[in-house]
Assembly symmetry: C2
Homo-oligomer: 506 residues x 2
């Protein structure tokens, strides 16, 4: 699996807490030094909020700002995810944050109530997108695209009761990869599972497992167990809760809330508590009831083929055929899957603990047809990486390891030990910027040298160029390494080349 | 100025239409080949839209999808903008797409009506963000941050009457850079102008000019001309229209619509039709009326200092002191600026034509204080790059040059000339993916070799690996260069190394 090699090796290793600080090295830390600020209220014609009735300054419920530290983690993870999508030949695509309300209706089953609507301010009725899949299907139908492999990284919005402790937000980022088009069975589906494995291995999130099932097998189970067809969706939603609730509680919901006969629920229970590898697929083929159901047989046939391809990809041992996997969304029509992280148990005899889903997807062959004026379908299969969950895990790990990361990329700081050297500093820094060197200076006429050097240590800036009277007279600049504190004098003409040389070596 | 060097040289040059195709080279083109698609309606429990009352499939008014081609252009431009922001030491920050409605009120003057509100679905009243500046100020106040240099790339939403021909949308991307904190005057302001110059030069958009003014000078002008203070904002909005309307029409608006006395309007006209360099600053210092106004003198003093710094940065000749520049937003308190592209005129004696604003910004020292419970202020200055405009210009240029760009980055295609080689292809491509090589294959059991090779030519994929019976028997793989059509046999063990060698050479 491609892992660190794809990223800037060291930065990545620092991020993931795999490098220990060498003895004597400076601790890189982002500091918001709270300098003196003009506290006097400015003459403004605008009314401050505090004069108004109890305004509370906050982000909306279930949303948050991302700090520079969080942005660095996020950027690295997204880079890795996107580079995997590109490795598999995907094109980029972007769609608006909102869609016509009608575009989103009847796609999400019980979750439709979580869609954010925009206020009717005259004109169209609009809703914020709930996922990236429905907009993709709308795009395909609208542009009559019959074949496309695309990725999309973007925010989606859901009015969930936010339980932020679990890493669930009302605004969150999704990373989707989908393959649309009519192809030979299970080849794109297998690639989607391969991509999930590459990303989860590459991010080094620990052990994981991908549960696989098929909507047609579930429907077949419901049919042979005697569930009335009108209740398929409702019962499917109940089964979907088996990762959070016990079978006993799910059974209770089916019987007490959804009006299913107890013996039907029990028959379902016999199936949905099964999980295993390809041998379970074979076993289900032999099942006296299920083998009578055409839909279930189709699903089982595809799963058998899928396992064959997964073996060729070398990832079959990561996959579990799990009859309890249902996936909440209405639009799936075939194979479905969900990746969960496993926690190594404290005792060898215990089963690994499922610590939550980090990626999921499946086949949705009917969604594009819902948008097409003539109902023409484009079969699709795809996956979505739950990056918010992954961000939380990586952030938590960094806290545990106590590692700090740089929030800027500044390479050189332009300093002076003397007063009245602003003009020289400005001329010098413009030279560096124009040469493409990342450089900063203090926005003060007369900063103290110690303050300037401290800033470099705190921010992890590796080089300082120092200009003062002596240097100006001699036509040189002092170049200082922050880590070693060594200083050398360099002629002005050679400064840029020398800095570039040092940066390329480090 | 750093230009092409910062980006992948060749890709960038192709993007900007500077490379001509070498003779005989393949024209790179993205093709959506419309393959046979299962047209039979799928058994789905979902109701297709076409059965409903006249549903039209479209994106909301004023919004659009971005195609893979557009995404490639966008990615290159954003990479360049962000790398400039990072060169100047900025940290990343992200804020939610929506804010509490109250956070946005009374910040945008006449434009407040363009804010998108969310529907009241119970809970907080929310609005989509209108720019990235107000959320930044809210962030600073909320977290009591007194000093920060940050960039933010994100979408904003405005309910404007969309005139898409002009490149204006209701959803668009902004790239902001801001410096918050109490510093010595005009140093951060000068850096903002330097950044605008670096980006506009780097993107090679042709000649440009940055107009600079100061809100205090405008207010001083209004005061000495006799405008009642209650009308400052309204008259400022009228002045702001001078880039789109003649002085005659603006004067008419002031007098007829905003109730200003004609002689006051004429006095304003004498000022706001002036523009020039630092000499105009000196001239205004001598102005008998303006030199009596304390606010105007402060503004002029700062502009004088600003021009000094801009000269040290080597960009003074790009800057014009323009008394007609007003900027629509309420929150500016000091220096304001706006970059416009210039079109070289057909005749030497004509003035260069202003073809529209592509970047703008200014100082807003009072905005953070509006959010602080005690009204404590954090002085800020920043800029926003109008990337949508820039995207349109670059896309238009590419159309003119007739250059096509690759929408995928695939390096190797895994092909076979024989039937029943899917298993071997799958094993082979997994090896490539695991080695970090960008690879694709056809999702067919038995694709035709010619179809596979055509796909590579159309998509600009440089290498093909071919596996068939002969190769399997001999333990080799054929490696084919798409451009030269040369083929060599390589042992399976050496394949990855050989591909990596070829890719690093190209």
């Amino acid at each position: 699996m491609p892992q660190l090699g794809l990223l800037h090796g060291r930065a990545w290793a620092v991020l993931f807490g795999q490098l220990r600080r060498p003895p004597g090295a400076v601790c890189i830390r982002a500091v918001h030094s709270h300098s003196q600020v003009a506290e006097a209220a400015l003459a403004t014609q605008l009314k401050p909020h505090q004069e108004k009735s109890n305004f509370i300054i906050k982000t909306p419920k279930g949303t948050r700002d991302l700090s520079p530290q969080q942005m660095v983690v996020r950027e690295k993870i997204l880079d890795m995810v996107v580079s995997c999508f590109k490795r598999h030949g995907a094109k980029g695509l972007d769609t608006p944050a909102f869609e016509l309300k009608e575009t989103l209706t009847e796609k999400y089953g019980e979750d439709s109530g979580l869609i954010y609507d925009l206020k009717d301010q005259g004109g169209e009725l609009l809703s914020l997108r709930y996922d990236l899949t429905v907009p993709f299907a709308r795009y395909l139908a609208m542009n009559k695209v019959k074949k496309m492999k695309r990725y999309h990284v973007g925010k989606v919005w859901r009015r969930e009761s936010p339980t932020i402790a679990q890493g669930r937000y009302r605004e969150f980022c999704q990373c989707d990869f989908d393959i649309a088009g009519q192809f030979d069975p299970m080849i794109p589906d297998a690639e989607c599972l391969k991509i999930m494995c590459e990303i989860l291995s590459g991010l080094q999130l620990g052990d994981f497992l991908i549960k696989v099932n098929d909507r047609r097998i579930l429907d077949g189970i419901f049919a042979v167990c005697g569930v009335p067809e009108s209740k398929f969706h409702a019962i499917c939603s109940s089964v979907d809760k088996l990762d959070k609730m016990s079978w006993k509680d799910v059974r209770h919901e089916m019987v007490a809330k959804k009006g299913l006969a107890a013996e039907i629920a029990d028959r379902i229970g016999d199936y949905v508590q099964c999980h295993g590898g390809v041998s379970l697929v074979k076993q289900m083929f032999q099942d006296p009831r299920l083998s009578q159901n055409k839909q279930a047989l189709e699903g089982l046939g595809d799963l058998k083929l899928l396992f064959e391809y997964l073996t060729l990809f070398g990832i079959a041992e990561k996959i579990s055929f799990d009859l309890s996997l249902a996936r909440g969304l209405d639009y799936y029509t075939g194979v479905i899957y969900e990746a969960v992280l496993l926690q190594t148990p404290a005792h060898a005899e215990e089963e690994p603990l499922n610590v939550g889903s980090v990626a999921a997807g499946g086949r949705y062959d009917g969604l594009v047809g819902m948008f097409d004026p003539k109902g023409h379908n484009v079969p699709c299969v795809g996956l979505s990486i739950g990056v918010e969950r992954i961000f939380s895990i990586v952030e938590q790990r960094m806290k545990t390891f106590g590692e700090k990361i740089r929030t800027t990329e500044t390479q050189v700081f332009v300093a002076t030990p003397q007063k009245n050297f602003l003009q020289e500093r400005l001329k010098l820094i413009a030279e560096l910027w124009d040469a493409g060197i990342k450089a900063e200076l203090m926005y003060k006429n007369n900063p103290k040298l110690l303050t300037q050097l401290h800033y470099c240590e705190n921010m992890g800036i590796p080089l300082v160029v120092i200009i003062g009277e002596q240097e100006l007279k001699e036509g040189v600049i002092k170049l200082r390494s922050v880590a070693s504190r060594e200083e050398v004098a360099i002629t002005r003409e050679n400064l840029v080349a020398e800095i570039q040389k040092r940066l390329s070596e480090s």
